[in-house]
């Protein structure tokens, strides 16, 4: 095709008139099909993290924004956003944000590879599937199956399946959205306040002797922790052969950690920083 000035003018004319036509058409359409919507919904949505994790209990960030404006939800429900987002949302709504305790996911099992397999499992590589088959392949009916369903469910890449066969939380990234706790068929992951340093890493209600046979770090219900607890009314209780920390009362003194003969009770105080650095290195490697 040889160059012809006529082509240029016709092209400009046709496209220009089409664009004007469409522009006017869209402008009229947006007027005709205008939908009344509270401008605050859009404002709030812009300030939310946009991860659509559902930690607020609503189906995504957009649904949460609508719920806030409708008065069905408070301004500080967004866990991934934390206090910063809560303040902005509260400003938009003319409310005051109340501080929400920072929480993280905690894996309450120390078994992992230390617990033997009862059977050789070759099924679907998912804890939920394994748990359907006679409570899973592990000797312990209560503990972690180590197939990493929780790790895959984490929307923030805050979990790593360690070489010890247990999932580990990268607490800096954890937003306490609860996805992992929800998918775990053994319910060994709990969302707990970050200020609590001491936890009993076991969920087994088996009798002491049985636990001792299958797991070197399982709770045998000896009640030594209960005896040494200095808190009035005791912050750790043994219930059906399982020690459980009362996170409201616990002062994280660590006396029970020293007293536990099975090293079931653990302390995050020292390890918290080191662990994060180490696991981040593992992930990039």
């Amino acid at each position: 095709m040889e160059f012809d000035f006529n082509y240029v003018t016709v092209a400009a004319l046709v496209l220009g008139s089409l664009a004007v036509l469409f522009g006017v058409g869209l402008a009229i359409a947006s007027r005709v099909f205008h939908l009344e919507q509270d401008p605050r919904i859009e404002q709030i949505e812009e300030n939310l993290p946009g991860a659509n994790c559902g930690a607020c209990g609503f189906g995504g960030c957009s649904a949460y924004a609508q719920a806030v404006v409708a008065g069905k939800a408070g301004p500080s429900e967004c866990t991934p956003g934390g206090m910063d987002v809560a303040r902005v949302v509260a400003d938009i709504m003319g409310l005051t944000a109340e501080a929400k305790e920072r929480r993280v996911a905690v894996v309450l099992c120390n078994g992992g590879n230390k617990v033997a397999n009862r059977v050789d499992y070759h099924g679907v590589p998912d804890c939920r599937a394994a748990a359907l088959m006679q409570d899973g392949q592990k000797a312990c009916h209560w503990g972690c199956l180590g197939l990493g369903t929780c790790v895959r469910s984490c929307p923030f890449d805050a979990m790593v399946l360690g070489e010890d066969g247990l999932p580990h939380i990268i607490e800096e990234r954890c937003t306490a959205c609860g996805s992992c706790a929800e998918v775990c068929p053994k319910q060994i992951i709990k969302i707990l306040p970050v200020k609590n340093m001491v936890h009993a890493f076991c969920r087994s209600h088996d009798k002491g002797g049985e636990t001792r046979k299958i797991c070197p770090v399982g709770c045998i219900g000896c009640k030594k922790c209960e005896q040494v607890c200095p808190v009035e009314g005791k912050a750790i209780h043994v219930n059906e052969f399982l020690a459980e920390v009362d996170v409201q009362k616990c002062i994280s003194c660590g006396k029970c950690v020293a007293a536990c003969p099975m090293s079931t009770i653990g302390n995050f105080r020292l390890s918290r920083r080191k662990k994060v650095a180490k696991l981040k290195g593992q992930e990039t490697a």
């Binding site: 095709m1 012809d4 092209a11 046709v14 089409l18 469409f22 869209l26 679907v124 590589p125 998912d126």
Partner: protein, 220 residues
């Protein structure tokens, strides 16, 4: 060219995704769950039909005189059409404009009048603006199909072709999402998990669809 031939040709023989390799981004991105794939498929089907209708009108009445008359000549803007019309210089750019505007308009109308459908398709509608399969089927319907053998298509035939293109896209989406849902619980080696194994599945599906080529002697 009958409607049945167009249907078989666009859905099976020259399937937009598996034979012409158009619209691969939603094919990989939105096939993790069947429900999402179906939503995306129907949104694409809807937009393709409308886009084909609009672009066929532009092609037949502005770019060429195949519809019986040409608007530019009729309005006295140009004395006569050059040979081949303005297809070469205006086709791509005007189609892009039409499709983008159309998607915007459809989204607006749906939001107001069919909120249920809008909620179901909501996220996928804006994505379709940049879906090359929509542009592809519009180009195929007007210029790029086997014109030498079958001659030009009428506006209704092009619109029907757009609908069939959408059906073919939806079919491919549903097939792959079914495969991927099963792959998600299979013991796939770690290096192949998720997208890599999906690529392999896609390749095999394309090979299978190759079996349809030249079926009933149709070659679009």
């Amino acid at each position: 060219m009958g409607y049945i031939e167009i249907a078989i040709g666009t859905i099976l023989i020259s399937n937009l995704v598996l034979a012409r390799f158009l619209g691969l981004c939603p094919f990989v991105g939105v096939t993790r769950r069947t429900s999402d794939a179906v939503g995306m498929g129907f949104a694409v089907m809807f937009v393709m039909t409308l886009a084909c209708f609009a672009t066929a009108l532009i092609y037949n009445y502005i770019l060429t005189a195949e519809g019986g008359m040409n608007l530019l000549v009729a309005l006295g803007i140009v004395p006569e059409l050059p040979t081949g019309g303005y297809v070469l210089i205006l086709k791509t750019v005007s189609y892009i404009l039409v499709i983008a505007v159309l998607v915007q308009f459809v989204e607006m109308v749906m939001r107001k009048s069919v909120p249920v459908l809008y909620k179901a398709l909501g996220i996928y509608l804006p994505l379709i603006t940049t879906n090359c399969a929509v542009m592809g089927v519009a180009l195929l319907g007007t210029t790029d199909w086997n014109r030498a053998t079958y001659g030009p298509l009428s506006v209704t035939q092009v619109t029907f072709m757009g609908l069939c293109g959408g059906i073919g896209f939806t079919l491919a989406m549903i097939l792959l999402s079914g495969i991927r849902e099963r792959l998600a619980v299979a013991a796939v080696p770690k290096v192949l998990q998720n997208v890599p194994i999906a690529f392999i599945a896609m390749g095999m599906m394309a090979l299978a669809f190759l079996g349809f080529s030249k079926m009933f002697g149709i070659a679009l």
